[in-house]
């Protein structure tokens, strides 16, 4: 005892890694890269084989990354390679409307020139983002990938947590993080109950090509059945998120491409000229699903695994990335203090930081959706007055712009553009 080994690694080598991450989609790899930057060894496990994650062709899926999310990806060395394929969002126009009618006389207009930080965000296609993340984790020396392997059990003991995989092999680490989406098996195995509700709405998601340039402007039309978001992609293309009641969405989705476009045209309008379908069509049932807690012994949940929210305003991925930036900072600070990263007091710092923000955002998107997915004439008048007010009150408008850019709230260092 008086002659301890001359070379000592600061993590215990009987563990497979410091952190086990279940879920290799978008959040899992980003968290893995952030934790590796803090000097930790990470294992990422996903039931999907790695080659299933990437589709070389454009498949219609894309993401609206807030400015703060872009800062995170920049800090992790990812954005530099993605930027040439991303479309900056220079302006967001929000309009209240009814299919077949013009927009109401009042609309909100958020121009990035009103805030000093630059564009509010960027659009990036799934086919670019996902393979970049997978490649980065597969080539990182501190990250081990276990793709194509299922988790069958998880156990917590004093000092570590153990995952059992489908082939009965076991992995041990100080901390387990669930990045496995709204059907999170990690949360379920930890006994964390979920609550939430169905909106009775389904989002139709696809990309369209159009004749005229979009000039980097994103549009959000609030229609009685649900919002229609039109988000600019590179070239004369847009990504659309079109919410309808579940029955209507199913009927529209069953239509052949030509009729699908016929259904979209009156809602979309002709401000970008004629439109065509690009890539595949997707549907996402809309529901709110939150776990009772973000943490359990030696476990933290991130993104949709903790809080699947209404995709209005594209806040789902951004909220997940904010969780990641906060959790990575809590873990990095604990590591530099020599604390056990899976200790309950360390994990509670993450929960305290993120729980209020996530609940507030889920509530805000929920309220927004209820308020706007409605044809009640009184509410419609109230919305028009509200939008008119925002349009004429610059400070209120700047507040919304900053919220869309992710600049409000207690930002983690990686989202301020600072080193972890």
């Amino acid at each position: 005892m008086d002659n301890p080994p001359a070379t000592r690694i600061f993590t215990d080598m009987t563990l497979d890694s410091d952190i086990l991450i279940v879920g290799g989609g978008l959040n899992g790899p980003v968290l893995a890269l952030a934790c590796a930057q803090a000097g930790l060894r990470v294992t990422v496990i996903d039931a999907q084989p790695a080659d299933r994650f990437s589709s070389a062709d454009f498949d219609g899926r894309s993401y609206a990354l807030a400015l703060t999310s872009v800062r995170l990806l920049t800090g992790l060395g990812l954005w530099q390679g993605l930027a040439p394929q991303a479309q900056p969002m220079l302006d967001i126009k929000v309009t209240d409307g009814r299919a077949g009618e013009g927009p109401s006389p009042f609309f909100m207009h958020f121009d990035h020139a009103e805030i000093e930080e630059g564009p509010m965000g960027f659009m990036i296609e799934d086919r670019h983002l996902r393979p970049a993340l997978i490649h980065a984790v597969q080539t990182h020396p501190q990250i081990t990938c276990r793709f194509g392997e299922t988790v069958v059990a998880q156990d917590t003991a004093a000092g570590h947590t153990t995952l059992t995989l489908g082939n009965q092999s076991q992995l041990k680490a100080r901390l387990l993080v669930g990045c496995d989406g709204r059907g999170s098996g990690t949360a379920a195995r930890a006994g964390l109950r979920r609550s939430g509700w169905d909106y009775g709405q389904t989002a139709l998601v696809c990309a369209i090509g159009h004749e005229k340039p979009h000039n980097g402007v994103a549009h959000q039309f609030f229609m009685p059945p649900g919002p229609l978001a039109i988000l600019p992609l590179p070239g004369n293309r847009c990504s659309i998120v079109w919410s309808e009641s579940t029955a209507t969405a199913a009927a529209i989705n069953a239509l052949p491409d030509a009729q699908y476009l016929d259904a979209l045209r009156p809602r979309f309008g002709d401000f970008l000229g004629d439109i065509t379908l690009q890539g595949r069509r997707f549907t996402y049932p809309l529901s709110l699903s939150m776990t009772q807690a973000l943490i359990a012994p030696r476990l933290a949940l991130v993104g949709d695994a903790a809080h699947g929210m209404h995709p209005i305003a594209g806040q789902g991925l951004n909220a997940g990335l904010r969780d990641i930036a906060a959790l990575a900072q809590v873990i990095a600070d604990a590591t530099r203090r020599g604390e056990d990263i899976g200790a309950p007091d360390v994990l509670s710092r993450y929960q305290t930081w993120r729980r209020f923000d996530n609940a507030a955002l889920a509530l805000a998107t929920d309220t927004f959706n209820r308020l706007f997915s409605n044809d009640n004439s009184l509410l419609r008048a109230a919305r028009d007055i509200g939008m008119g007010l925002v349009a004429h009150l610059p400070p209120l408008r700047r507040g919304f712009i900053r919220e869309a850019a992710g600049l409000n709230g207690d930002l983690p260092r990686l989202m301020k553009g600072q080193p972890l």
Binding site: P5, I9, F10, A158, G159, R336, R337, G338, A343, P344
Partner: protein, 250 residues
């Protein structure tokens, strides 16, 4: 350590495991220490990194440093130091704490040399350390100058001594005795004796008499709104910490 534990009665081990769980429960009996710990660790790690030119962003930044944790208890400071790569000796005058701390270190996969001994006995055995952690102990000892002199003798030339305690004034009586022991009941009544608290200038004098050169002072300040502790350059009115150096050889 492992060999000697195998001879211990299993019922004793179960008892020690329960006590270790108690020491390390952030909401349990030692809640006040857990609340203070991140703030103490921020100070300790920053001071050691600055004195020995280490980068806390690197793995095992304290590798090669021998650190003594006096009054180690369940190992709340010893374990972080070991995790940062230091060779740690944890000493406690209460024999009961030693097996408890050992079991928890083993569960955490850490190698720490825990001993039932005192600063004076260790100093007499002539084992030198780069760093002596002397946190929340001096207000409990009978003869502070003798004790601090022993701490200085434990240091290598130029070694770093970090000492925290509680100020003696009406506010510390209200906060540390009435507040912590009687109102919040964070600490058992009688944990602290107000008359034994030491003002920063008294401590500075004692440290200098013990042969140490005081290089830094900070306050540990509790913020009841954020419900957490932070370091303060100015507010040393209740809990505070000092950094002092042993004379260098040259």
């Amino acid at each position: 350590m492992q060999a000697s534990q195998s001879t211990v009665d299993p019922a004793e081990i179960a008892k020690f495991e329960a006590m270790a769980a108690e020491w390390w429960d952030p909401t349990g009996k030692f809640k006040p220490l857990h609340m203070l710990n991140p703030c103490r660790l921020d100070y300790i790690t920053a001071q050691i990194a600055a004195e020995f030119d280490r980068d806390l962003r690197e793995p095992a930044p304290f590798q090669g440093l021998r650190i003594l944790d006096i009054g180690c208890g369940g190992g709340l400071l010893s374990e972080p130091m070991a995790r940062l790569g230091a060779d740690v000796v944890g000493a406690d005058a209460a024999a009961g704490n030693i097996p408890v701390a050992r079991i928890h270190a083993e569960q955490s996969g850490l190698t720490i040399d825990y001993r039932h001994t005192t600063a004076e006995a260790l100093a007499d055995s002539g084992e030198p350390f780069d760093v002596v952690l002397n946190m929340e102990v001096v207000e409990h000892v009978a003869a502070p100058l003798d004790y601090l002199t022993a701490c200085r003798r434990l240091l290598k030339p130029g070694g770093l001594h970090l000492c925290s305690t509680i100020n003696r004034n009406p506010k510390s009586f209200l906060v540390a005795i009435i507040g912590a022991e009687h109102v919040m009941r964070w600490l058992p009544k009688g944990t602290h004796e107000w008359a034994k608290f030491i003002t920063p200038s008294e401590l500075e004098t004692l440290l200098e008499q013990a042969g140490l050169d005081v290089v830094d002072k900070k306050g540990f300040v509790f913020n009841p709104v954020a419900w957490s502790w932070r370091l303060s350059d100015r507010d040393l009115s209740v809990n505070y910490v000092t950094a002092s150096l042993a004379p260098s050889a040259t």
